[in-house]
């Protein structure tokens, strides 16, 4: 019953997308609004279809319906309810269902938001393109990776259960959906970009239309990636958070181009430049999303994340080729008409900084992509099997990352169209000196590693610049409005939430950068073998092994080693790294025990349970500043929320004209006054 319901949902999805696309195409050709409206309404049907299919699958999972192959492979009677629900995205077929659901959600949002603008061909085309993406995914589910396929032969008595790694931590509930909310969200600006190319409307309206959605998607993608790193660190137990694994890289690639995009749009909004860049970036982001999906699911690369299915590879690759061809073809066709109406006047200006930003992010994406696929390329070209791992990525991305830090410190202070030395001096000199001071202090007091010192110095530079700017704006507002500090801060931020939200995000980035730099040069790692009652000292912490505990449940058997931790004479408590074994698998899954501190983490893993003589082997690792990565991620999320707040002032006049019907808040603040807070003469 549930399988039939699910298949019905998928079939409905295919039907609704096909009908919707047909109606929209017809409506666009005949310029018939009624047809367009019908097409738009079909989108709601598509979303409903996705919901139906997902509900069917969750129902099957929760009722342990093992007649369905997917449930039999990814669920067992002993699986806790949380991991039963998250079983929806535990393996390939289900993950596509989740994708379809989220896509349906974004589509419904698009259809609702533009319900009054269907007559605009741009909206029509955007909906058409979005529906075509949905059509692909529904067809993919129906023909290549059917989640509702039934089991061959007898219904198994009990299912296999999800991979033990996937039932270790409740974070399983958050990480994949967040990532998908990010990936799938990029479909919206992509649809509008294609629509803009097809209709020939290169104005900036489409940017305004999609800005919020893009930012939301970017925010989710950032959160998803940081959560993935956190999961890797807290749960998987190898003591790291980023392994340059091909699938991790695949999630990073669209993030890089998306970040470049959200910065670069500012230039297009303000001066109509970098149009080709923006269109290319958003199309590239979507393509990289599909590429990431392909790499994860086709078994082409070796990875901890890879779902291994080889039948579906050609489907995804074919779709990727199609999208890339269409995108590149459209850009090549319209290239000469995309002539931008402005030019970069000076090397030291806002526009130039954003151009440099684009180049750096694209460069980063290129390097990460190259490193990820190079083993395949090398094998195809010369038959040699080699691998590209962390040393390569570190070596290549660090200079680019540092250059980006530099740009982050300098660019917000650069006005549009060029500047005078006087302005630069006023805005940047003191922060620059603070940065250099931090760099020198790091070199003298902490470590002689140049990379770490540069990172600390540039980070200090960036933060100092931000503090200066915010402080200055707040002070000006205080004087102008004669209000208290807190109120002035609130008004400043709400007066231009985009800018200040962005600055908050930058602070988060600096925190992460500092943590990454510190991890590379400080830190202690040692393996200790202890008998009961014995102690060892690592990095200032004294650990005493007091005993082991074994606990058994229907789900797993766990052996934990209790270690009493002391530092500087003070007891810090008992920490218990553990190893669990699951009934349906021989793998032993380690659970690390982490003492999180502001300056450093104490990371303990149990390498081997007590041997014949009662000795345990524990891996002790003191990791500096790891908490700053998670805090930095939270700050970035906070900044994104701030940036999404509706502005109380109007956008630049140019954009305003083109997106007239769009803004909810018409704009109340005085335009001149608001602009003066951006480029303050004082």
């Amino acid at each position: 019953m549930k399988a039939q319901l699910g298949v019905l949902g998928i079939a409905l999805g295919i039907g609704a997308t096909a009908v919707g696309m047909w109606l929209l195409a017809l409506g666009l050709r005949r310029k018939d609004v009624a047809l367009l409206q019908s097409g738009r309404r079909c989108v709601y049907l598509v979303s409903a279809a996705a919901v139906v299919a997902v509900v069917a699958m969750e129902w099957a999972l929760l009722s342990h319906d093992f007649t369905i192959r997917y449930v039999a492979e990814n669920n067992a009677r002993s699986t806790p309810w949380l991991f039963t629900v998250t079983g929806l995205w535990a393996a390939l077929e289900g993950s596509i269902l989740l994708w379809a659901l989220i896509l349906g959600g974004y589509l419904a949002f698009m259809a609702y938001r533009y319900r009054d603008r269907v007559s605009d061909p741009m909206v029509g085309w955007a909906l058409l393109v979005a529906l075509s993406v949905a059509l692909f995914f529904f067809c993919f589910m129906a023909f290549a990776a059917n989640p509702f396929e039934l089991v061959n032969g007898d219904t198994p008595v009990d299912g296999r259960g999800p991979n033990p790694l996937l039932q270790n931590h409740p974070l399983m509930a958050l990480h994949p959906p967040m990532l998908y909310l990010g990936y799938v969200g990029m479909t919206v600006p992509f649809s509008f970009a294609i629509a803009a190319l097809v209709t020939g409307r290169f104005s900036e309206g489409w940017l305004a239309d999609t800005r919020r959605t893009t930012l939301v998607a970017w925010g989710f993608l950032t959160a998803g990636i940081v959560l993935g790193a956190w999961w890797s660190y807290e749960v998987l137990g190898w003591g790291g958070y980023w392994a340059w694994d091909p699938v991790e890289n695949a999630s990073l690639l669209p993030w890089l181009t998306a970040t470049a995009f959200i910065h670069s749009v500012m230039v297009q909004e303000r001066r109509g430049m970098l149009r080709v860049w923006n269109l290319s970036l958003v199309i590239a982001t979507f393509c990289l999303t599909i590429l990431g999906t392909f790499l994860t699911r086709s078994g082409v690369v070796n990875s901890v994340h890879a779902f291994t299915e080889s039948d579906i590879g050609p489907w995804l690759l074919g779709y990727l080729a199609l999208v890339a061809a269409v995108g590149l073809g459209l850009i090549a066709w319209r290239a000469d008409q995309l002539h931008s109406s402005g030019r970069i006047d000076a090397v030291v200006s806002g526009e130039a900084a954003f151009l440099a930003n684009n180049l750096l992010f694209t460069g980063l994406a290129f390097v990460v992509l190259l490193g990820t696929v190079f083993p395949l390329v090398a094998e195809a070209l010369s038959g040699s099997r080699l691998s590209v791992g962390e040393p390569y990525f570190d070596r290549m991305t660090t200079p680019l990352g540092l250059a980006l830090l530099f740009l982050m410190a300098v660019a917000p202070a650069l006005p549009w169209q060029g500047t005078t030395g006087e302005v630069l001096r006023r805005r940047l000199l003191v922060p620059a000196y603070l940065g250099v001071f931090a760099m020198v202090a790091t070199l003298l007091l902490l470590t002689r590693d140049l990379v770490t010192a540069l990172a600390f110095g540039l980070g200090a530079f960036a933060v100092a610049g931000i503090v200066r700017e915010v402080g200055h704006a707040v002070a000006t507002r205080r004087r102008a409005d004669a209000v208290g500090r807190a109120q002035a801060l609130g008004r400043t931020v709400l007066g231009n939430p985009r800018r200040y939200g962005g600055l908050v995000v930058h602070v988060g980035v600096v925190m992460i950068a500092l943590a990454l730099a510190a991890a590379g040069s400080f830190g202690t790692k040692r393996e200790v073998r202890l008998r009961r009652g014995e102690s060892a000292t690592v990095g200032g912490y004294t650990l005493t092994f007091t005993g082991t505990r074994t606990s058994r449940s229907a789900q797993k058997t766990t052996v934990a080693a209790d270690l009493a931790v002391r530092r500087g004479g003070r007891s810090l408590g008992t920490y218990a790294p553990a190893v669990s074994t699951f009934p349906n698998s021989t793998q032993g899954i380690g659970t690390p025990s982490v003492r999180t501190g502001l300056v450093e983490d104490l990371y303990l893993t149990l390498v081997s349970s007590p041997n014949a003589r009662g000795r345990v082997t524990v891996n002790v690792s003191v990791q500096p500043m790891t908490l700053w990565i998670w805090l930095g991620g939270s700050v970035m999320a906070l900044g994104t929320l701030v940036a999404l707040t509706p502005s109380v002032r109007r956008r630049p006049a140019r954009v305003e004209e083109e997106a007239k019907a769009l803004t909810v808040d018409g704009g109340r603040a005085d335009e001149r006054r608001s602009r003066s807070f951006q480029e303050e003469p004082a």
Partner: protein, 350 residues
């Protein structure tokens, strides 16, 4: 960008301090990499075979730990980085290296990003030149000139070149400096923590290595000799003797095993028996200087025959005037001469 001379000063000073910091950070430090650091670095460049994508340094599987121990043994044994990598590549194939080699097809993965960088720099340069030539067609749709800060369009080309050139040079210099700094870095953090008994550990493990080597190649005289010399250095006379005698059996035409066996036997308190073996060494090779030294010393100290000792010791200096024991020999010779002048002996030198 307009900037009077006074305005440049703070920036120049900044640049100087930064340059100084770079120099300080990159100045080559004395002292070589410790064994632990070298092991860590090599381990971080090798892939752990039991895991997905982790390096041997990061992984805690049994195989990875065994490999780390193996790496450390090889480092202590004095094998070079290239040798160690070669051994692993032979066993596991090229894919064991996490850092792609710098030759063959792998060169592409290093060269392509640099190529892309050069290309994009060129592209930007071209674009900038094109903008300069095309007059500004923008109808001022952007800022209200009254409130925005806009620099005057005509700027001194010389100054601009200076600024741009300075920035580019600084960027390039930093990039190169970074490349060097990154090369010296050990990914994954530096292992610290005191290793309690380093000297004892290394000696024991060195002996184990030597024993293993000798046993692995039982026909190899040199391996036995190396083991024997090591043991002698640690005053393990019985062990040294055993190894020397094995070496003697393996190669009866070499003087060293006989001579040193005799020496060790003398050290154990049997100088007459020792002398016999030393004589055997001289039978095999009359020019072997060490045997002369041993003979001379035994004659002088144990058999109270300084005249004969003088002859032997002089023979040593004839054959090997700058040999490793030459100083000792000269001292002994002086002692023997002075002793001979007070006694007489009829033993003739060989």
């Amino acid at each position: 960008m307009k900037l009077d001379r006074r305005g440049w000063a703070p920036w120049v000073l900044l640049g100087v301090i930064v340059a100084g910091a770079f120099v300080f950070a990159l100045w080559p430090r004395g002292g070589s990499e410790s064994v632990k650091a070298r092991t860590q670095r090599l381990a971080s460049e090798l892939r752990c075979v039991d895991c997905e994508g982790l390096s041997v340094a990061e992984s805690s599987t049994t195989a990875a730990r065994a490999q780390r121990r193996d790496l450390e043994a090889r480092v202590r044994d004095g094998q070079s980085d290239a040798e160690i990598r070669g051994v692993y590549m032979e066993r596991y194939g090229d894919a064991i290296l996490l850092k792609p080699a710098s030759d063959g097809i792998a060169l592409l993965v290093w060269a392509l990003p640099v190529g892309a960088l050069v290309l994009s720099a060129g592209g930007v340069g071209l674009a900038v030149r094109r903008w300069r030539r095309v007059p500004d067609g923008d109808g001022g749709l952007t800022e209200d000139p009254a409130t925005a800060e806009v620099a005057p369009r005509r700027q001194s080309p010389g100054r601009r070149v200076l600024v741009v050139g300075g920035l580019v040079a600084f960027a390039a210099g930093s990039a190169i400096a970074l490349a060097f700094a990154l090369g010296a870095r050990v990914p994954g953090g530096n292992p610290t923590g005191r290793d309690p008994d380093v000297a004892a550990v290394s000696a024991a493990s060195r002996e184990r290595t030597l024993v293993a080597a000798a046993e692995a190649r039982p026909e190899d005289v040199d391996a036995q000799l190396a083991l024997a010399r090591f043991r002698l250095g640690r005053q393990d006379f019985a062990g040294a003797l055993e190894a020397y005698q094995t070496a003697a059996t393996l190669d009866p035409s070499a003087p060293e095993p006989f001579a040193y066996s005799g020496w060790v036997i003398r050290l154990q308190g049997f100088p007459d028996e020792g002398l016999l073996l030393v004589d055997k060494a001289l039978e095999v090779d009359p020019q072997y200087p060490d045997a002369r030294f041993f003979r001379g010393l035994i004659l002088l100290r144990d058999q109270a025959n300084p005249a004969a000792a003088v002859a032997e010791l002089q023979q040593y200096l004839v054959v090997s005037p700058d040999g490793p024991m030459a100083d000792q020999v000269r001292n002994l010779l002086a002692e023997a001469v002075s002793a001979a002048s007070t006694t007489t002996s009829t033993t003739s030198p060989r």
